[in-house]
């Protein structure tokens, strides 16, 4: 194993990375299947498929449970390794650097927005992408999805993949580009698991594949920017918060047409 002096010192075994990604996927699946099962048992819906499609409408809310679970695992790994959450965020970054960097991250995300838009048009025509079309929650849940969930997502998701998983893989593989490619792929594949949609009697695998394809350019760009910004996570987290929070806001106020 070649030494990687630029990799944060907190990075240890790859087992922690597997645990973290596994926890996220298991939580996405677990929450959806559990609630769908309860809906069927309670007689609210007749079939499991209907129940899953019903649960899908809440994905921007129950995502908070996945991120809380992620933060729990990150906290456990940090305690075990004797490290701190702050160290995962990279070198010290001044407020103006975070602001300027976030603007740069948003600008650099434009190609991904365009690609994702074209992919949506190619697969679904002029219709709204299914993960936005299915969202149907009461006002209080909408408020949570706008004010709480995007913040939790930024504290958990990029920190998990770029702050915890990536350095561990770099250390194990000794090739940053390979580690980054694996992280981007894993991160994209995670999106296939939420929301689970059923078409007819089967899981909508075309939608799952679309989810992976539509987020892949975003994740590739953000991962590349993590390196370009000297492993500073805060500008990426801030930009993603604006992006995801803005999307949640637009959905809550019916601005997505």
């Amino acid at each position: 194993m070649r030494p990687q002096p630029s990799v944060p010192a907190a990075a240890t075994g790859v087992g922690g990375a597997v645990l973290l990604v596994g926890t996220r996927v298991a939580l996405w699946l677990g929450v959806q299947l559990l609630v769908a099962g309860l809906l069927v048992l309670a007689g609210v819906t007749a079939t499991g498929g209907q129940a899953l499609n019903g649960v899908a409408g809440w994905w921007m809310v129950y995502g908070a449970l996945v991120d809380l679970g992620t933060l729990g695992v990150i906290g456990w790994l940090l305690r075990r390794d004797g490290s701190t959450y702050r160290r995962l965020l990279g070198p010290p970054t001044a407020g103006w650097q975070v602001a300027v960097g976030a603007l740069g991250v948003l600008a650099a995300s434009v190609p991904a927005v365009v690609f994702s838009g074209e992919l949506t048009s190619a697969v679904y025509g002029t219709a709204i992408a299914p993960m936005f079309a299915v969202v149907d929650v009461p006002a209080l849940a909408s408020a949570v999805s706008v004010l709480v969930v995007p913040l939790l997502a930024e504290l958990a998701e990029p920190v998990a993949y770029l702050g915890v998983v990536l350095p561990r893989l770099e250390r194990r593989l000794g090739r940053p580009w390979l580690a980054a490619a694996i992280v981007v792929l894993m991160w994209a594949v995670e999106h296939a698991f939420f929301p689970l949609l059923v078409n007819g009697a089967r899981l909508d695998l075309e939608f799952a594949a679309y989810r992976v394809g539509s987020v892949l350019p975003f994740l590739a760009i953000w991962t590349a920017l993590y390196y370009a910004l000297g492993r500073r996570l805060l500008p990426i987290m801030a930009a993603r918060w604006v992006f995801n929070g803005g999307t949640a806001f637009a959905l809550a106020f019916g601005l997505v047409k």
Binding site: G104, V105, A107, A108, A112, V114, E118, A228
Partner: protein, 151 residues
């Protein structure tokens, strides 16, 4: 280390630019002089190669630094985005996606363009960070003058 990365990113962006120009030539839509008599965005975009060559020479000679490169890369990203993705795009994505017989080739060319713009934007941010670090380094090493020398 940073110098080598900057060179590599510049060569990558130049190669991606060349690939995108080849895509134009193969599709033969949205092309201009020297392939047709019309001077348009395609013709203007060819200026990027002398700009890169000149910039590389100036950088090697120590006349320009990362700040200059950030402007070149950022300017390139803005130009290509405006031409292809902007509200007044002269060559919108549909012209690329529908420019080939098999749709997979159209998607390949479009993915290449998206990656090209992303590489330019990421490179520009990287160079901006280097420029900022260089400036901070200069401020830190500059000797304090004028302190306590009231007239």
């Amino acid at each position: 280390m940073h110098r080598r990365t900057l060179y590599r990113l510049t060569y990558l962006a130049a190669a991606m630019s060349l690939g995108h120009h080849l895509d134009h030539v193969i599709r033969h839509n949205a092309v201009g002089w020297p392939l047709t008599g019309q001077v348009n965005a395609f013709t203007v975009s060819l200026v990027v190669y002398p700009v890169i060559a000149t910039s590389l020479m100036l950088y090697r000679a120590g006349r320009v630094g990362p700040g200059f490169w950030a402007l070149v890369s950022g300017g390139g990203a803005v130009f290509v985005s405006a031409v292809h993705f902007g509200p007044a795009a002269v060559e919108p994505p549909e012209m690329i996606l529908g420019g080939y017989g098999p749709s997979v080739l159209g998607w390949l060319a479009f993915a290449w363009l998206v990656t090209f713009v992303a590489v330019l934007a990421i490179t520009s941010l990287y160079e901006t960070r280097l420029w900022s670090q260089q400036r901070q380094g200069r401020h830190a090493t500059r000797p304090a003058t004028g302190v306590g020398t009231g007239r």
